[in-house]
Amino acid sequence: MMAALIAIALGALTAGGVYLMLRARSFDLILGLTLLSYAVNLFIFFMGRIRIGAAPIVDGKLAPTLANYADPLPQALVLTAIVISFAMTAVLLVIALRARAATGSDHVDGRDPIQ
C-alpha cells in the first residue's frame, strides 16, 4: 500500500516535470527540472527501502542489521543530490534571466516560433 502510494506520487511528479520541460519556456523548464529532481531525490531515498521509525545511526543497542536500522547511504546520497540540483537550478535561473533580458522572449530558442 505504502509502496503503491509512493510509486504514484513519484510518477505524478515525473510526469508533471517532463510535461513542463517540454513546454519550451525557460520558466516552465526550470519548474519542470525542479519537479523532476524532487521525484529523483525521493526515488534515491526509497531505494534504501521504505522504513518507518528506524534511525540510520547505529546506537549499539540493537544488532547492526538493516532489520533494525534504516540504510544511511541513500540518505547521504540524496543530500548530495539535493545540494547539486539546487546549485544547478540557481545557475539555470541566472542564465534564463539573462537570456530573457537579452532576447526579450522567454522561449528557450530566444524567439517564439509562431508570431
Binding site: 534515491i44 531505494m47 547511504l73 546520497l77 546549485a87 542564465i95
Partner: protein, 527 residues
C-alpha cells in the same frame, strides 16, 4: 617516486589552483595567467608520471579518507585512466596557452573555471565509484556552463539554456540509474558492482538491465551519440575557441564512461545483465558517424564543420567500443587520442582564421585572408588529414585497426562501409572548406574587424597550435608505442581481475594517529 598520493594530485591540484584563482581573480589579475599555466604544467608532468606508473600493468587503487573499498570512495589508476588524464592535460595546456592570447581577459574567472573543469575531467577518469562519477560529472558540467557563457554573447546564452537544460535532465536519469543499481545490488563501487551484478537473480535482472541502459543513455548524452547529440553543434560553435577545444575532451568523458562500464560491469561476465548495451551501441555509433559526416558536408561555417567532425570522431570511437573485442577497443583508443588532438587543434585554427578574415569570419564563402596564407594553409592541411583519418597520420592507423578488428564480427560489412564512406565525406567537407578559405580570395577588400592586438598574444596562440600539430605528428612517428599501449590498455580492460582485485583488496594505511580508535577509547573510558 613511490609516493602513493600521486594519483590524487590531478584532482587536488586543479581544485587548489582554482580556489586560489577565485580569491585573487579580482585583486591580482596579472598573476592569474601565470599561476594557471604553471599549475597546468605541473599537472602535465604528474600525468606523465602516472602514465609511466600505469604502464607496468598493475592497477593502483587509492582509498580516499582511508576507508576500505566498498564502503568509502576509491580512486583507481589503470592504463586507460592514465591515458585519458594525460590527454586531458595536453589538450588543457594547449587550450590554456591559446586563451592567454586574449580570450581569458573577457571575464574575471576564466582561469578558475578552467581549473575546475580540469578537476572534474580528471576526477571522472580516475574514480572507481559510480556516485562519485556523478559528482565529478556535475563538477565538470557546472564549470563548463561558466566557460560556455564566458564573454557572454546572445548566441551563447541561447545555446547555454539548451545545453544546461539537457544536461540537467541527463543528470536526473543518471541519479535514477545509480540509485536503481544501489537498490538492487547494495553497492556503488564499480569493482564491487562487477562482482555482484553476475549474481543477480532472474527476478531482478530486468531492473539491472534497465539501469545499465539508463547509464548508457546518460553517458551517450555526454558522448554525443546520435539521437542525443543535437545540443553539441550549437554549443561548441558558440563557445570561444579555447573552451571549444577543451570541450573536445569533454565528449570523451562520456566515451570513457561507456567503455569502463561495458567492459567492467556489463561485459561477458555480467551474468543476466551481460551485453545490455550490445544490440544498441554499434548500430547507433554507426548512425552517429554517418550523421557527423553528413553534417560536416552541410555546414556553412568552419567551426560547424569541426563540431561535426567531433561528432563523427565520437561515433568512430563508440563503434570500436560497441564491437567489444580487445582489438576494436585498442583501435578506438588509438583513434581517440588522434581525433581529440585534431578536433581541439581545428577549433583553435578556426578561431585564428576567423580573426584574420575580417567580416566573413569563418563562414565558408570567399573572403579576404589578411594573414600568412601559407602558414594557415599548411596547418589546415595537416589537421584536415588528421581529422579525416587519412594516411600518413596516426588517425589512419586507428581506422585501419578498427577495420581489421571489424573483420570477424557479424556487422563487418556495415562497419567497413560506414567507416570508409564517412571518411570520404569528411575528406570532401575538409577539402571544400580549405579551397573556399584559401583559394577564393574576394576582390573587394572587407574591412578588418580589429580584435585586441597585443603583438605577443598571437605568438602564444601560434605556439599552442604548433604544439598540437607537433603532437599529432609525434603520435604518427611513435605510432608503434602508442598502439602497443592501446592494446595493453584494452587487454587490461577485458581482463578485469586486476582492476577488481586492486580496488577491493586495497588496504587502509595504518594511521599514525587513529582518531576513530581514540574516540572509541574515550567513550568506553568515560561512560
Amino acid at each position: 617516486m613511490s609516493w602513493t598520493h600521486w594519483i590524487v594530485v590531478p584532482i587536488v591540484l586543479p581544485l587548489m589552483t582554482g580556489a586560489l584563482l577565485v580569491l585573487i581573480g579580482r585583486q591580482a589579475p596579472g598573476w592569474t595567467r601565470l599561476i594557471s599555466l604553471a599549475s597546468m604544467l605541473v599537472l602535465l608532468v604528474v600525468a606523465m608520471l602516472l602514465l609511466r606508473q600505469a604502464d607496468d600493468g598493475a592497477v593502483q587503487a587509492y582509498l580516499l579518507s582511508n576507508w576500505r573499498a566498498p564502503f568509502g570512495i576509491a580512486l583507481a589508476l589503470d592504463r586507460l585512466s592514465a591515458l585519458m588524464v594525460v590527454l586531458a592535460a595536453l589538450v588543457g595546456l594547449a587550450a590554456l596557452l591559446f586563451a592567454t592570447g586574449g580570450d581569458d581577459r573577457r571575464g574575471v574567472h576564466f582561469h578558475a573555471l578552467f581549473q575546475f573543469q580540469l578537476m572534474g575531467l580528471n576526477g571522472a577518469f580516475l574514480t572507481a565509484d559510480l556516485f562519485n562519477l556523478f559528482v565529478f560529472f556535475e563538477v565538470l558540467l557546472i564549470a563548463s556552463y561558466g566557460l560556455l557563457l564566458h564573454g557572454a554573447a546572445v548566441a551563447r546564452l541561447k545555446a547555454s539554456i539548451h545545453y544546461v537544460g539537457f544536461n540537467l535532465a541527463g543528470s536526473a536519469l543518471f541519479l535514477i540509474a545509480v540509485s536503481l543499481l544501489y537498490g538492487v545490488t547494495g553497492t556503488l563501487n564499480m569493482a564491487d558492482l562487477a562482482e555482484r551484478v553476475p549474481g543477480i537473480g532472474a527476478d531482478r535482472a530486468p531492473l539491472v538491465r534497465s539501469a545499465a541502459l539508463l547509464l548508457l543513455t546518460v553517458f551517450c548524452i555526454k558522448a554525443a551519440m546520435l539521437p542525443l547529440n543535437f545540443w553539441l553543434t550549437d554549443t561548441y560553435r558558440s563557445a570561444s575557441a579555447p573552451v571549444a577545444a577543451l570541450f573536445a575532451i569533454m565528449t570523451k568523458v562520456g566515451v570513457y564512461a561507456v567503455l569502463r562500464m561495458t567492459t567492467l560491469v556489463f561485459g561477458d561476465t555480467g551474468g543476466l545483465a551481460a551485453h545490455a548495451a550490445s544490440p544498441w551501441l554499434p548500430v547507433l555509433a554507426m548512425a552517429t558517424l554517418g550523421f557527423g559526416a553528413l553534417t560536416a558536408l552541410a555546414a556553412q561555417q568552419l567551426n560547424a564543420v569541426v563540431a561535426a567532425c567531433v561528432i563523427a570522431s565520437a561515433g568512430t570511437v563508440l563503434l570500436g567500443i560497441g564491437l567489444a573485442t580487445p582489438a576494436s577497443v585498442a583501435a578506438s583508443l588509438v583513434y581517440l587520442v588522434n581525433s581529440t588532438l585534431a578536433g581541439a587543434a581545428l577549433f583553435l585554427l578556426a578561431e585564428r582564421i576567423a580573426a584574420v578574415r575580417g567580416a566573413s569570419a569563418d563562414r565558408l564563402q570567399p573572403g579576404h585572408l589578411s594573414g600568412p596564407r601559407a602558414e594557415f594553409g599548411a596547418a589546415f592541411f595537416v589537421l584536415a588529414v588528421a581529422v579525416s583519418g587519412a594516411p600518413p597520420l596516426a588517425g589512419f592507423l586507428g581506422k585501419a585497426m578498427l577495420l581489421q578488428a571489424a573483420g570477424n564480427t557479424p556487422l563487418a560489412g556495415w562497419v567497413i562501409a560506414v567507416i570508409l564512406a564517412s571518411a570520404l565525406l569528411i575528406m570532401v567537407a575538409m577539402a571544400r572548406s580549405g579551397s573556399v578559405l584559401f583559394w577564393h580570395p574576394a576582390r573587394a577588400h572587407t574591412p578588418l574587424v580589429s580584435k585586441e592586438g597585443a603583438a605577443g598574444s598571437h605568438e602564444a596562440q601560434r605556439w599552442s597550435l604548433a604544439g598540437l600539430i607537433a603532437l599529432l605528428v609525434a603520435c604518427s612517428v611513435f605510432a608503434g608505442p602508442l598502439s602497443r599501449y592501446a592494446q595493453a590498455a584494452a587487454a587490461q580492460l577485458f581482463e578485469r581481475r586486476g582492476y577488481i582485485a586492486a580496488v577491493l583488496g586495497a588496504q587502509p594505511v595504518p594511521a599514525a594517529f587513529d582518531v576513530r580508535r581514540e574516540m572509541r577509547a574515550r567513550q568506553t573510558g568515560r561512560p
